[in-house]
Symmetry: none
Subunit: 232 residues, 4 copies
């Protein structure tokens, strides 16, 4: 399973974890300002070129104050990844509410993911660099999303809406598609002019979904998926 042990990581990054200093309203606001600033600065400059001063300046607070809220540059980076991860999953889950079936849910989930990608380019950039800065938090990020996919796929398989493919492998494949397509067709699309990336092209979205849905579609009776016999 992908549960691994991320608890220590999450505790360190969670400002409200037991043991963490209790903040009042103002303190919480400062913390949020720091996370927001970090999102912007890390996205723009990357982990190494981002500096604590730049983050605190952007947050409009004093440099020393930073260390009242985060232990280190790496800590706020991890907290940011975890925060973005929470939000992207929320965005996907929300989009999927009320989907009538797996097919609709799939579409809605990907749409939610792409929308978040467009609105928060930091997610992609920060996750990219996470491999080097904090491999653990990177794995946490992907694992959390994959867990959601797996759960959805398993439920759909139970009611025959998805083929009997290994749910976990399929989930990682979906994760890969989502990230690569998001990068290629949303983030890089307008990169040249420095504009904020916009929505994904609807035709591309349709093609991607067709690819995915075909891959997952339950095999019509009497039709074997290609390569089935050889592989297993």
């Amino acid at each position: 399973m992908t549960t691994d042990d991320f608890s220590e990581l999450e505790r360190r990054a969670d400002p409200q974890a037991p043991g963490a200093p209790r903040r009042n309203k103002r303190g919480l606001a400062t913390q949020q300002k720091l996370l927001d600033a970090a999102e912007a600065v890390f996205a723009e400059l990357g982990y190494h070129d981002a500096s604590i001063v730049k983050i605190t300046e952007r947050a409009g607070i004093g440099m020393g104050t930073f260390y009242l809220y985060f232990d280190s540059k790496r800590t706020i980076f991890e907290a940011l990844v975890i925060d973005l991860n929470r939000r992207v999953r929320h965005s996907m889950a929300e989009a999927m509410l009320g989907a009538a079936n797996r097919l609709e849910a799939e579409r809605a989930g990907f749409a939610g993911f792409f929308r978040f990608t467009a609105e928060h380019p930091a997610l992609y950039r920060v996750v990219r660099e996470a491999e080097l800065v904090s491999p653990e938090v990177l794995r946490l990020h992907y694992s959390r999303i994959v867990e959601g996919y797996v759960e959805g796929l398993r439920k759909a398989q139970a009611v025959g809406e998805v083929s009997d493919i290994d749910a976990e492998v399929a989930a990682w494949a979906l994760m890969g598609i989502g990230e690569m397509v998001g990068a290629r067709y949303i983030l890089w699309e307008r990169d040249g002019d420095g504009q904020r990336p916009g929505e994904i092209d609807p035709t591309v979205f349709a093609d991607v979904m067709r690819f995915i849905e075909t891959a997952l579609a339950p095999r019509p009776a009497g039709h074997e998926a290609p390569g089935q016999e050889a592989a297993q």
Copy 2:
């Protein structure tokens, strides 16, 4: 198309480009030693923690010598990405030689990609960080591989071995699957003990190929791919 203009980038990184100093046998050996050392050091430490001294020490040459062969740290990084890209594509192409049909070719190509991933973990790590260090070379890397996929898909479509899905979008999806699955099931698998990652688990490989082949399979007559009508 994905042709973009990478020529300037390639010229700068190509030690044999016209205009670059002509090397004799020994010079070429030194250059290769540097690239090999860079592969190891960048993979182990990442771009920022890698230092020129560490690279030259590993290459067994003097520090100043580095600058006789590469203009800067960034230049050797780009050269390394381009070199790895060339080799991974070679590895894939070689594996595909003699494939009887698209299906076999697909399998062989992915197998080649996964084998290279296992043998050269640097590829993944270096490409990850490239997003921040040199976005251009990152795009070059992905684009080059995608071009290969697109060409293969188009040929297969022409003979009815692959559905009429948009070849380019499908190619980016394949790229995403390959990278994510390679990371998850090859590189992270043995990460804890620092061992050199091994082969991909055959079962996982079979599942991945099934996923891909189903997605690309030509639709049996009379069967519409799901979601087709709505999307287009």
Copy 3:
């Protein structure tokens, strides 16, 4: 005129310029320690062999602190030239206070200049090298002093104490004499034994002043300066 535009240069080098960080008492002391150390180190080693570490060590502060006060090695060099220039002009002006006439003022001014040269050998050495490091600040230095001479000469001409020679050309000539004589008879005199250079030899001083005063003396009626007719 020699007014040129040195304002930008002076603003950059002026630690109290508007826009520069406001320093408290301690900060100002640190800044002064840096300038003093720079004076000593630049004078001893020259611009290129002086290093930031040597300067900060001499100032008794941490290396990084340097960059809180000056943007770069070149900046502190320029600030030092401007500071020394201010002080040498102050030294000259002070000496000239209470001079009864141009003749006395001239003597006093040169005496002030020579005294400063003896007490601050850095002035000469730093100015010498400035030609290569920052030509602008070199011109500023000379121009500022020359401006003072010009003003004095013009006033003296108005009351008939100085001949009608072009004040500006005469001023540059005086500048040249002062610098060369100061170097030759003060700085080089004891150079061998590394001792701090002392006062100028009174006889030499008398000869120099006689040279200058003769050159500037108003022509007695009926006597043409030699070469007058031919040249103009």
Copy 4:
């Protein structure tokens, strides 16, 4: 006196000194190419930014060849100063040939000096930096020229063409005037547009000569130089 001991210095810098490797015609040509290149490069970049490679490239010879002709960067610098010094003195001496009297000779000498300054900006720049690079060669340069002045002044004094001022002090004053005026009115004049500096403005030249000639003029009988009595 100003004889000091420059013999060792001259021997080291003199490529034809006994003990130096005997050169054939080709070797001498290479040596001259190096000196010419050094003049250009040092003048343009200053001692520190000039590099051996730049000099040898400009001379059109291989880098290693440099060390067959000069022991070090400093050595060629000193040789260059000595060479320029020889040439500027030659230029002055030549100009003075056939001067009818001290006055004419003085004019001619300064004209020769200014002409050389305009044609060889390297002289000024190289001499400026020499203070830091090789104080000995700097003193040699000035001393040699001053010796010439002293000799001339003494001869003129003997025939009553120059006042009884101390010849040596006067000579250093003249040296200072020549250098400062040359810098100000020749080299800096066109500095902005990077053009090769031209001739000195004839009016300025006339003013300078009037200043000098007045300073040196024999006192008309019955007229004491101002400040004479007080000073001595």
